[in-house]
Symmetry: D4
Subunit: 245 residues, 8 copies
């Protein structure tokens, strides 16, 4: 509801071009489409900088597909996370790309990439979350590099890749278990760090809560923490920071 539009509406009323009732209706009218079970919000990109995303888990394939089609018709641009190859096939949208390691379907990826986001993982099992972050940031228009399995039990693996750390503008770190990698990375780099706890582990890893709490308590000040397994959120924030001008 930007000020210019409102001002313009008021001016039209003043000029007598539109009636008070029409003006009122205009002011109330906002650009979303009612689909009974989901109000597709086509102008969200303008407001939040991030296109609409469909979180497929907890929705039927049919719901996912009908929301996706409405988005496709209007903006031709969206993401589906926690998606499957089955949804990709049922979509019948030619330019839809399925990223299997990330479980993401993307439509309308930005071609020209900017800046530099680095995505790290502590172990092999943290890869799906990291890939969700990488695919998201790349889709939005960020240049993305990845460096996996560089956890704290073998610091030399991280140290041997310091150059990568220094080149990035923003660093995303996905780690499960004790979630210590963001602290170590934060001790080396002065760039904004986004930590994503993963649900990797067993017993007292508590489905990722231990990694989450460890990251929130990092002795390195100012680490941005995401929800458990929330690679998508990390990708969004990394892109927002990476492209801030």
């Amino acid at each position: 509801m930007d000020v210019k539009t409102v001002k313009k509406i008021l001016s039209e009323i003043q000029k007598g071009n539109i009636s008070v009732e029409d003006g009122l209706r205009e002011l109330k009218h906002l650009p979303y489409e009612d689909m009974s079970f989901a109000r597709v919000d086509h102008h969200r990109h303008i407001r939040q900088g991030i296109p609409e995303v469909i979180f497929a888990a907890g929705k039927t394939d049919e719901q996912v597909i009908s929301i996706a089609k409405a988005m496709y018709k209007r903006s031709g641009r969206f993401l589906i996370t926690r998606a499957t190859q089955e949804i990709r096939k049922a979509l019948r949208i030619k330019e839809a790309v399925f990223h299997p390691a990330a479980g993401v379907i993307s439509v309308g990826e930005v071609r020209k990439k900017k800046g530099h986001v680095l995505v790290l993982t502590a172990g092999t099992s943290d890869m799906p979350v990291a890939e969700e972050a990488a695919v998201t940031a790349s889709f939005l228009g960020s240049r993305v590099n990845t460096l996996y399995d560089v956890g704290v039990a073998g610091l030399h693996r991280l140290m041997g890749n310091k150059a990568s750390l220094y080149e990035a503008r923003v660093i995303v770190v996905a780690a499960g278990m004790e979630g210590a990698l963001p602290s170590v990375v934060g001790g080396i780099s002065d760039k904004p760090i986004i930590a994503v706890p993963t649900s990797v582990g067993y017993g007292t890893s508590l489905g990722g809560l231990t990694a989450l709490f460890a990251m929130l308590n990092s002795c390195v000040p100012g680490i941005a923490v995401m929800n458990i397994d929330n690679g998508f959120g990390a990708g969004c924030l990394a892109h927002k920071i990476n492209t801030l001008h």
Copy 2:
């Protein structure tokens, strides 16, 4: 341990200017100072972009002061958080400034401010945390505005200040209780948002855990979340993002 310095040391060895033993010692030597109970790390600013900070809670006033003095002698620049007027007085450092609303002592604040950080609170009681964030970011060199008591129960208070939201490069939101304000702000602004849960509330606010979890589960993607009451961390991250170039 930057590559240039190491290269230089190796060259000196090669040239015979320094012995192998001396070179070895040099490589091991890192610029921190041993004070028996705290290794003051004067080069941290170079590595992490943030000067050393002393978290006064859980340290005796004597410990705080002796660490502070060591820092003062070397770099003349540091922060003490969760500090008191008593520590300020005992410090006997002329340029030390005590910020009572934030509970922060700052020495060596950057004069020339850059960019624009906006700090919001949901309620009056969230102010100390917000002030800690504001003082920190300002100390590091960010231009900071504040807007307090604009919580979701009275959305018109926030809506009446939309202009402030659009002007900021980064927004810090401190909120306790149900922690809903970051989601609402994130629905309006496309700037990076840093959410700081506060321990304001009672009963099931669980000392801030409810606000924390609410923020981690925001339906707005990519909100950066901090530990409970961690205004200092929020200030650091806000400054890092605000001054990223």
Copy 3:
């Protein structure tokens, strides 16, 4: 055990129409029927204003059906929640209606609706819980409207439907994740609000606990909170309040 009945029994004893022993037995006799595994309570409606309901989850289909049949024979009026189409078919009761979106079977719905209950959801995934509430309140005799997917990340969607909010006597709000919608609705409307946390989300949504705690900590005073996913309870309370005279 209403006073009139007791008084009547005592009068009959006084008049000598019934013996002390018979009177004693009458006083003890309460109108429920023993089915060995479930005491069907036909007079519950009189005491609590809500007909008996069968929570199908955790009971075998056979148990559900035999309880349902006993109820049908007596009062011809009951609900089965967390039900399936399979139970509906096995029931062999003609007027039984299965509401698939709600997972509810209803028999003997009140035809004449009164007042006005509005049921909102934050997202598409909260719909099953909202539908359980809507079907329940409607079954009991309340007029019910629904408005779905109006979460806080896009406040304009809610604001564009303010009229609906003002028309309702009671508002039910179902939301998962950060559970912020009831606070926002409560900031706009002065009607009683019933908040139902849903188990929608992942990681730190903790199966709905985060939404629950957020709602209990709302900065809007006096929001009525239900158990996680308890659409049935919300429907009952909404009806009770809506029809209070």
Copy 4:
């Protein structure tokens, strides 16, 4: 932001009585007052049906008093909860009443009471929370009765007061420990029941969480649950329901 006012502003613009800029400003202008640390919201009563309340815990006496004075000047009507006799004295407002059992200061209580709210407690120790609810509902204009120490270990005490239960329009039940009283009351009465868990108990009472969870899991459908010790919220909701017409 009611429709009539907006319509009127638009009409004035149309008629040329006010300029577009002034109209814009009017639309943005909302009736709250900036006090730097707390935006006093004088129109909240119109929007939510509840006057502003000051939660004194977690604020300095000075902050409480200066907010209170701003409210007093404008509307002459507000509540301070978790208050003390000291605050009452420092307020220097003649008509301010301190309710010691409730820890509430009230200014501008509604004289003419309507309907009937009944407030119950399980034990003696639950009284402060119950009194907070009773004082709040009465302040807002509800007729309030109380019945204390009628917990489930001695059901005859409750049963001996059934008449009180039948007379009330809304029942507030405050209980700590196992929190069973609302279920028992709900089995007897068909009126809306508001359950307030209290922090009374020790060990596994977990500061009221056990009572809270017990109430949320009541086998009586549709009990409205509040945050732990939240007597104020219970009083607000009870009044809203009691006076719904």
Copy 5:
């Protein structure tokens, strides 16, 4: 509400000795006394086998004393737990006995003891809870022996007292920390065992939750578990079992 009394009332109505109204009032009348903040329940002993007890924590000394005096007047017999020497003095009841190790005041202890209850502790710090149990059971009329500091780290201390274990009819075991003693005792004795977790410990003892959960998970079947630090409850149950005939 025993059957005989009701029968007698009905007979009186039948005989015309009392009117229907009076009979109705009689039936409703139950023997408790209204003190506005606490309904003293003098017939509780008949119903539950345990005289009224006052849990002093969370009540003012004045409340404790006025409840105590009402009890004294009627039955001359009650307990005050979590009590202090101050309350004892203020009571001004000659036969009141203060048990300092237990923090209990008793009035009207049963002189003639029956059966045999054994109370054990794992460590010295568990003594206050054990003493509360011992004083309670003894007050009610059980013969009580104690054996303290016989924890599992030194099994020989327990083994050297096996005779005591075999002589008891019921065994109360108070233990904090890992709460293992009841399992060991249960492996030796075939008598009913009542386990009382204590809040002794630090860190992951979680205020007694660890001991509680350990006791609930004992590999010895059928151990009766109490709330944390609930020596009073243990004493009541021990006495009930000890004197069951």
Copy 6:
């Protein structure tokens, strides 16, 4: 390791009938049988009053059967809990009885029953746990009655069966959800009460933790609490108390 046996061994040594080495071996020798994966403890009945029981969940059917056979050969008497009809069939022990409602296989049930144990449930879904308790107590030799679905939402159902409560020597109460039934029963009866929380419920029932904590916090003193769903333990304790002489 009873004193008589040891004394006898020492006497034999004294008399020279057995050597020191043999005596030593005798003292160490305890009557259990090594099966490599499970030490079957045939004398447990003597020590604890309860025959060996096999908890089938978490063991393979093969393990269950081979342990069962070893027990059968020696004592001919044991229970298998959380068992299935499949195990019953594979056992090939003629007198083995499978109790389907309880999920228990019993071999060697005591024919002559003593005393009187009453087992109650709050709802229909609590029956499997209650049946496990009933079958266990009956197997051990207690006379057992059951009364199901008498929860607090319809107190008249319980009140109509007061006679059953007064006849029992021990009462087992199984309840899920808010777990309030034991408190109500404890307010009526003066017999030892054993409360078994069940995992019946959803959301904040937390798999039975809410019922467990409610029972531990009962305002009725001295209720014996079991682990969640531990009907077997309740049956053992009920029998121990019921047959204490």
Copy 7:
């Protein structure tokens, strides 16, 4: 990165045998191999004393096998935990041994065993975890004995095996439920004890948290505690201690 190697490299630079650039590269070069999804760390054994292990749970069989093959080619020595017979077969490595009770595949077990590790379990169900510990320690070169099902409910079973306890250098104790066995063992033996909580149990065993917390709170000082079900970790630590010289 041991000092000798670095010294040698510096000497070579000094002597002019290698260039500064080559020296720099050597210093940075660390012996791991990049496989894109997992950096196999062949020198880990040198640094940590434990060969690389693959935790198969949470990895696809394909990933497990390709990591395993890389390890096999280089060092011919590794473990796969939480493995299956299927993985063993697909590996096609002749000397790979599958230990079914432990769920471990080992390649390159040390033939010559040293010292003495004793592995105990409380019950039969704790065996898989104990076997994982036993197989691990044995694989690394420790002599291992096992003693299963010697839980605290039948202490004589443990006492009858005291000799085994005295012979061991290190004792591993795996226990679920109340986790009391390590305390009892620690009261008898003066050797280092490693406690492994297992997820055996139900209800309040909380998936092993209760056993874990009980072990951390042992009244025996200095018990080493592992994560829930972490037999592998226990085996590693037992071997490290057992072979410390």
Copy 8:
């Protein structure tokens, strides 16, 4: 209860030197002393390798002192942890030493130190716990070095002290907040590592639970974890391992 002593007693019986009754008494007699509130266990050192320790927190000074005096008289050797200077003074034992940084009083420290234990901390605030460990291990006879404030945010501080790590036989690591230091140390050293989580931190550090869980989930296998703040336990285990021969 060692075999030799028993054998000797049996021999004496055989020889007729002592009677069966006396032998029986001897077998039962174990060397502890009954002080009514604490059974002082003078032979514990023989059984567990650790002298008796008094945990002063939760005991009155009087209790601490009387237990201490009993110990002093017999063995002249013990520790008091969580002690104060006040207790030291009241003890009136000349050779008692108070260690203020550790809060420990020691009597009878072993003069000749063996082996080498290294104690590390992540930060300054972890020092009291580390000192408790260091004082304990030293008291028992271990040579102890300390290295404080070498946390992961500044890895160079740790790396600059690698030599210390390589010289130690056992390493104790005390860390609060995210508890990451043990993992990093474990990635460098192959010695047994004992991790002690401290309660240092705020908000989601959860009083040390976050550090504890992080340590239990370390990606370095076989780290021994202690209870929160349990420096004493760490010192005991470190000494046991250090002096294992």
